[in-house]
């Protein structure tokens, strides 16, 4: 990682960059005068649509900084920013075929996925936990013995749930759901006892539910916290170097902590809910020593 970091720094030196022939995404942006950001529609608080039909969120602000940096670096007077909504099914093809240049959302960065796409510095860390109704009194993974548990189909959380079920011999009935909203609905309607997902997404689902006081998050997690990153095209070193340099400077500055406070510890649109996510040691380290590592142990 260090070597990559040094290489990235070298490439990002302004004199060097402008002297070089532009390639990849930067060349495309310079030629077309347009940068396209992929965003999510309901990934609170990372990237979502607020009550004014505007795309907002923590990841969107970070992407905004990268856009500014691109504009300065390419010495462009005007840079058109286009927004395109993406889903978990469309984000990879749209990155690969050049429709979007950055995916600003809550995409987990792991080694498997790095074969296909690249990520800039991690902007959040989340562990797999579960939510259930308080009345059911489920706090630990052991408590799920014999229960019906739902997770979103095709997520790493589902994989961890299936593994824990087999390893601890819990005899759970595992239900797949199409998306987070559908999975949460199953818990709300008592079709499932618990929903296993990234803890931050669970917190935002609970906060925006009809009766937030009726739910609780588990005390125990299924995994080490995994990193979220902004996704960009693979094998595009100059663009990645610029994005890394920008995000790294942002996270280390007081602005990084302020941004975190704004989206995770203050009331956010559309309903003015406060997610109250504490800044733990790992998140602190993530901001102090930015890295794009996919390895949870690196944090």
């Amino acid at each position: 990682m260090k070597l990559v970091g040094i290489a990235a720094l070298l490439l990002a030196l302004p004199g060097l960059a402008s002297a070089q022939e532009l390639t990849g995404t930067l060349k495309k942006i310079k030629e077309t005068g347009v940068i396209t950001l992929g965003h999510r529609e309901s990934s609170v608080p990372f990237s979502y649509i607020d009550n004014n039909a505007k795309v907002v969120g923590y990841a969107m602000e970070i992407c905004g900084k990268i856009v500014d940096a691109v504009k300065t670096d390419l010495k462009m007077e005007k840079l058109d920013v286009r927004l395109l909504p993406v889903t978990s099914s469309t984000r990879i093809p749209l990155i690969a075929n050049g429709t979007i240049d950055l995916e600003c959302g809550s995409t987990t960065n792991n080694a498997e996925r790095q074969k296909q796409v690249a990520y800039t510095n991690t902007h959040f860390l989340t562990a797999s936990a579960f939510v259930s109704k308080k009345a059911k009194n489920l706090m630990k993974i052991e408590d799920l013995k014999g229960k019906t548990v739902v997770s979103t189909a095709g997520t790493t959380n589902m994989k961890q749930l299936v593994e824990a079920n087999a390893a601890k011999n819990l005899g759970m009935t595992v239900l797949p759901a199409k998306d987070h909203a559908a999975a949460f609905l199953l818990v709300e309607l008592d079709r499932a006892d618990a929903f296993v997902m990234d803890d931050i997404l669970l917190a935002s689902l609970v906060a925006s539910s009809k009766d937030p006081a009726a739910y609780q998050l588990s005390a125990e997690a299924f995994s080490l916290p995994e990193p979220y990153g902004i996704m960009l095209r693979k094998d595009d070193a100059p663009f990645k170097a610029l994005a890394d340099k920008t995000t790294s400077a942002l996270y280390k500055s007081p602005e990084g902590a302020a941004l975190f406070k704004k989206w995770f510890q203050s009331p956010i649109p559309p309903n003015g809910i406060n997610l109250n996510v504490p800044m733990n040691a790992m998140l602190k380290k993530m901001l102090e020593k930015p890295t794009d590592s996919a390895d949870p142990a690196a944090y």
């Binding site: 990155i95 074969k115 997520t155 589902m158 994989k159 009935t173 559908a182 309607l189 079709r191």
Partner: protein, 243 residues
């Protein structure tokens, strides 16, 4: 395009621990087949009954049949599955609703029945068209021979009507197979859902969807082939659908 092709992905282990990625897709295919089979049986049964009802002389029967067809035909399949899965259990008495919610494989039963009833409206429409396409003289001849209405349908009208509508019924069968993919929205892990899971796990989206495309294509091509054979086998020489 900046994409890392990896066709060997199908022989790599999937993270669910159920074997390779190919196994994952084939597990999905099994659910697709089971759902399509049950849905097709339901569609054919109810479609035939409702289609016949709509051609009966009794006015109330025609109205009831029309209502069935309009209800199931005019609401999008996606919405119907949501209604069956999320709304109906809430409308039932609490105990019955809870039983329905905790039923094993409830998304399979809900999906198959929902798709079956949706398709039954289309089958009914074709059965009706098949019956109407026969010359009115055939039913009259039946009456003249002293057959009851039931006997006329059983021995005169339906054998010809079903032969006539076999080709469009084939299309409906293929539609039933394709519509099973909508059941992924209520959590049925059929072929499309498995394909999406594969792309989430591996990020090899084009390989996953290419495989799904080929599997659907092969499945529906074989069904078409079998239905053609059936058409030939039951053809009446020298008459409408025959040669």
């Amino acid at each position: 395009m900046n994409y890392n092709w990896n066709w060997g992905i199908f022989w790599e282990m999937n993270p669910e621990g159920s074997g390779t990625y190919l196994t994952l897709l084939l597990m999905g295919l099994r659910w697709t087949l089971a759902t399509a089979a049950l849905a097709a049986i339901i569609a054919l049964t109810f479609g035939a009954i409702v289609g016949v009802i709509r051609t009966l002389p009794a006015r109330w029967a025609v109205l009831a049949g029309d209502a069935w067809v309009e209800f199931f035909r005019n609401i999008p399949l996606l919405v119907q599955l949501f209604l069956w899965y999320f709304v109906v259990p809430e409308l039932l008495p609490k105990a019955a609703g809870l039983w329905l919610k905790t039923l094993p494989n409830s998304s399979f039963w809900t999906g198959a029945i929902g798709i079956g009833l949706f398709m039954s409206s289309r089958v009914a429409e074709q059965v009706k068209a098949g019956i109407r396409s026969l010359p009115r003289g055939q039913a009259m001849a039946g009456t003249a021979l002293g057959l009851t209405t039931a006997q006329t349908y059983r021995y005169v009208i339906l054998p010809m009507a079903f032969r006539i509508i076999l080709p469009p019924l084939t299309s409906e069968l293929l539609n039933t197979v394709k519509n099973t993919s909508v059941a992924l929205t209520i959590g049925l892990m059929e072929l499309t859902a498995r394909t999406r899971a594969m792309q989430e796990y591996s990020f090899q989206v084009f390989e996953a969807f290419t495989a799904a495309t080929l599997i659907y294509l092969a499945l529906n091509a074989s069904l078409t082939f079998l239905m053609r054979r059936l058409e030939k086998a039951v053809a009446v020489p020298g008459y409408v659908a025959g040669k």
